[in-house]
């Protein structure tokens, strides 16, 4: 995969020197399917840097609408935005799609054609010359590990192989940015791991920006360095994965030798916000300071603290807290 095309070299050069740090930016972006319909995206404002961005949200959250708008298939009804420096809705937005790769969630493969034929075809549609497209098809199919079976019709492929064909077609024209929609759908754990490894390699070796939409939080957690949580057409949380996890830092689980009296339970709020109570195991978001001060707090009240566990931050909690900020996680 080394140095196979000028476009590829260009993409790596851009990535290596961070020439285009901002992949996507939008301000008050609003999208409606009809003039009278309620907006599917409600005034989104966001700026995403080059990297792997996880796009999370339940069904109907607006993920697909956002992808359509970013691909230029839907014209924004309000606000402004840009992808790779090209304004959304601008006349040159159609050409922008030759700089973007898209891996759809569903099977978009022609069953009786081989992987090689399909990938070469999509390369041509992206603007590559036929000969270049054929060469690139061989290269990307080798990259995704399908070099042995590239001449077989895809009807005989396993789910994992089909996903890799879709990834290959998204990469064939050396895009600067790829959209992956549920790339690990239907894969077994090993297949998921291998595909996510490929996604990491795509970013690390080719310098391609990645937007990964997934319901599988573990997948996003594994590869993404930025996260956007969408719900009902609004951004509920966005930022680097590290910062979002920090939002949950200081979560501890406390267990006492004897059950707490009601007044002792309410006094727990001195330590921080009580997020839940599962059979005497209190989930507490410590307000500040060293978590071990819980021992001093218990000692002062004559209580015996028999367990203090630092909770590991998990992405599903970030998601749940973003989607349901009022709900007490754990109850």
């Amino acid at each position: 995969m080394e140095g196979y095309s000028l476009i590829h070299f260009g993409a790596r050069f851009v990535a290596a020197f961070n020439l285009e740090l901002i992949l996507i930016a939008f301000e008050n972006l609003e999208v409606r399917y009809a003039a009278t319909a309620a907006p599917a995206l409600k005034g989104l404002s966001l700026s995403l840097e080059r990297g792997i961005v996880g796009l999370l949200g339940p069904n109907g959250a607006g993920k697909s609408t956002l992808l359509k708008a970013l691909l230029g298939l839907l014209r924004p009804s309000g606000g402004t935005g840009s992808v790779l420096g090209v304004a959304l809705g601008a006349p040159e937005a159609a050409k922008l799609r030759s700089r973007i790769g898209y891996m759809p969630e569903y099977d978009a493969l022609i069953e009786d054609a081989s992987a090689y034929e399909q990938v070469a075809f999509w390369g041509e549609l992206s603007g590559l010359a036929p000969e270049t497209s054929r060469d690139r098809a061989h290269e990307v199919l080798y990259f995704v590990g399908l070099d042995e079976s590239r001449y077989r019709p895809v009807s005989g492929y396993s789910t994992g192989m089909r996903q890799r064909v879709k990834l290959a077609q998204a990469l064939v024209h050396s895009p600067e940015l790829i959209f992956l929609d549920e790339p690990t759908n239907g894969l077994d754990p090993d297949g998921r791991r291998r595909l996510l490894d490929l996604v990491l390699r795509v970013h690390a070796e080719l310098g391609t920006g990645v937007i990964l939409a997934s319901h599988l939080l573990g997948d996003v957690e594994r590869v993404a360095d930025q996260l956007v949580i969408l719900d009902q057409g609004e951004i509920k949380a966005a930022g680097s994965m590290e910062n979002l996890k920090k939002a949950l830092a200081g979560r501890v689980e406390l267990k006492f030798l004897d059950p707490l009296e009601p007044e002792q339970e309410s006094a727990l709020s001195e330590l921080g916000q009580v997020m839940g109570n599962m059979n005497g195991l209190y989930d507490v978001q410590m307000s500040e300071g060293d978590p071990t001060r819980a021992f001093q707090w218990a000692h002062a009240r004559g209580l015996t603290l028999i367990q203090l566990t630092q909770r590991h931050d998990r992405l599903d909690e970030v998601l749940l807290r973003a989607l349901h900020p009022v709900a007490q996680v754990g109850n």
Binding site: L73, R97, S98, P104, A108, I110, D112, F121, L125, S126
Partner: protein
């Protein structure tokens, strides 16, 4: 891969149609050669005198160069054109296509262009070969007019565009290529039946211009100057415009990006 011609060939149906079209072409060419022999060879003189009464060398003969193939061509267009859009629908390829630098109008024009070019290319030798033979063997006095292609090629273009638009429009309504074939045949035969029924009920002959098969047959006749028994100029223009507009509109609506579920 793109237009599924390989599948057609693999399934032998393409070979069958090639054979039939070739046969028709050979018969037509042989016919012209026979006419030439009868006109130039003295041995055939009595036969020639007899044949003069039977063989038409006027406008009807020119229009007839295309007619024998028309019905078969509709079937071929249904077989190939029926799957053109439906196949993309079945494999959900269209949304992915629009995620590339392909505009919906590019997609539609490519499909319409192919579906119309196919019958045009098949019809081409039926006009050009007899015309060239006639010119070579008998010059301007030959059975095929020297100006015949100037009249027949536009007629072929109109008839082919009619076939192409109907095939693509019908295919866009179907979810599978097989259903697409059914849609094309159903619409072609259904429109013809409907036109005949209305004609029968009302006695208005112009309604026959709703029949796409009749329209495709009428254009070569109208352009070489033969009055078609069922379809006159104005109904032919209106009927063709109606079909072209309707089926292109249907195809455009059914292949919009908003119909593409990502």
């Amino acid at each position: 891969m793109r237009f599924d011609l390989a599948r057609l060939w693999r399934q032998k149906i393409g070979r069958f149609f090639s054979f039939i079209f070739l046969l028709i072409l050979l018969i037509q060419v042989g016919w012209i050669y026979t006419k030439y022999l009868m006109q130039t060879n003295q041995a055939f003189k009595p036969l020639n005198e007899f044949g003069k009464g039977l063989f038409t060398q006027g406008a009807e003969f020119q229009a007839g160069l295309l007619n024998p193939t028309m019905y078969l061509l509709w079937f071929l267009v249904a077989l190939v054109g029926g799957g053109l859009v439906a196949r993309d629908t079945l494999y959900r390829v269209r949304p992915l296509m629009y995620a590339h630098p392909v505009a919906p109008k590019d997609y539609l024009l490519a499909k319409l262009g192919f579906a119309s070019a196919l019958p045009f290319v098949i019809l081409l030798p039926f006009v050009l070969l007899p015309w060239a033979m006639s010119l070579l063997l008998a010059g301007l006095q030959g059975p095929v007019w020297a100006t015949a292609p100037l009249r027949l090629l536009p007629a072929m273009a109109i008839s082919s565009a009619l076939m192409g638009s109907l095939a693509v429009g019908a295919s866009s309504l179907a979810a599978t290529p097989r259903a697409g074939i059914g849609w094309v045949l159903g619409l072609v035969l259904g429109a013809g039946t409907l036109a005949s029924m209305i004609h029968g009920l009302t006695g208005i002959r112009a309604v026959d211009a709703l029949n796409p098969v009749m329209l495709a047959e009428a254009w070569p006749q109208l352009l070489v100057g033969v009055a078609h028994p069922m379809v006159a100029w104005l109904p032919a223009i209106l009927g063709t415009a109606f079909h072209l507009a309707l089926w292109t509109f249907v195809a455009a609506r059914r292949t919009r990006p908003s119909e593409a579920v990502i």
